[in-house]
Symmetry: C2
Subunit: 185 residues, 2 copies
């Protein structure tokens, strides 16, 4: 394998191992085996399991997310819920994120990486949605973007990641409508 291919194989193996066995049970040996490389190939690049996971998960953050721009608060919230719904239903995300949230309590490096990879991009998107809505007069200019993020993503996260029961047909339309009402209350 080329050097870049080895690195890519290790990165892919980290996500697969995180989803399959979780951070605490995951080992460098298991990652190397899944990637089809030797343990030394991993240790040459990363000094520990923690630094490997922080680096690999952190790299996802760079991609960022474009903010929807549909011309209405309802449209933007509905579009964001669609993207978030796909992301939270992805088997890797739905197992890796809660697992790393647990580890984040014990490892500040993981907390910082998760914050950068998940929250900062979502906060940026919601802040743009709120700003656009304020510009159209749909929301007050002093709307708190953190509170907006809680109201937009909280119910969907709770349903898909905590409760884990399939929402009824039309759920995202309904949730977008309820969220707009909450934001403008």
């Amino acid at each position: 394998m080329l050097r870049e291919d080895v690195t890519d194989a290790i990165r892919a193996a980290v996500f697969a191992e995180l989803a399959a066995v979780g951070f605490s049970r995951m080992s460098i040996e298991g990652i190397a085996r899944r990637a089809g490389v030797g343990k030394t190939a991993v240790y040459r690049r990363w000094k520990s399991k923690l630094s490997l996971v922080v680096d690999v998960v952190g790299a996802v953050a760079v991609q960022g997310l474009p903010a929807p721009d549909t011309g209405s608060l309802y449209g933007d919230v509905r579009a964001l819920l669609e993207v978030a719904s796909h992301a939270l239903r992805h088997p890797v995300a739905s197992q890796v994120i809660p697992d790393l949230l647990v580890e984040a309590v014990r490892h500040p490096e993981i907390a910082d990486t998760l914050k950068a990879a998940l929250l900062d991009s979502q906060q940026g998107v919601v802040a743009q949605i709120v700003q656009a809505a304020a510009g159209r007069g749909e929301l007050p200019a002093d709307t708190d973007p953190d509170r907006a993020l809680d109201l937009v993503l909280g119910p969907l996260y709770w349903r898909l990641v905590v409760v884990r029961t399939e929402p009824p047909r039309g759920y995202l339309d309904d949730l977008a409508r309820a969220t707009v009402a909450a934001l403008t209350a």
Copy 2:
């Protein structure tokens, strides 16, 4: 120690170990050591770590939660948010629940126990709040209690367990107001 005292010490040790090291790293040895009993005292009562955790966490479910009855939808939602906020800020709950949610993906017994211990009681409380509000004409009679639970607890759970930043002063009042708007949208 009396036989019941041993059982109580083991139960307390399970929660402490879950919070300190998490389910996957937790061992019967560690639980026994923390409880000040021998390993055989644990194995005499429970056949495995999994059955021990399922039994101990499941016992919490029996206690249940009384539904608030303040006479208004806003008052009931605000009261529930107060209780949930205290529960979710408790260090044991804030580490044990996310940890067990992760394990629930791999162990159906944990999923069932968590559902009984956490969701069923919360669902029962929200269903009673919704029913009382419908009786007063504050909500339509066909309000979906599962959707109501998502809207009531989702934003608070997201903020306190996922984002983990301190909400501003007056957050619960504001959240209750926003939630009532979402429920009645």
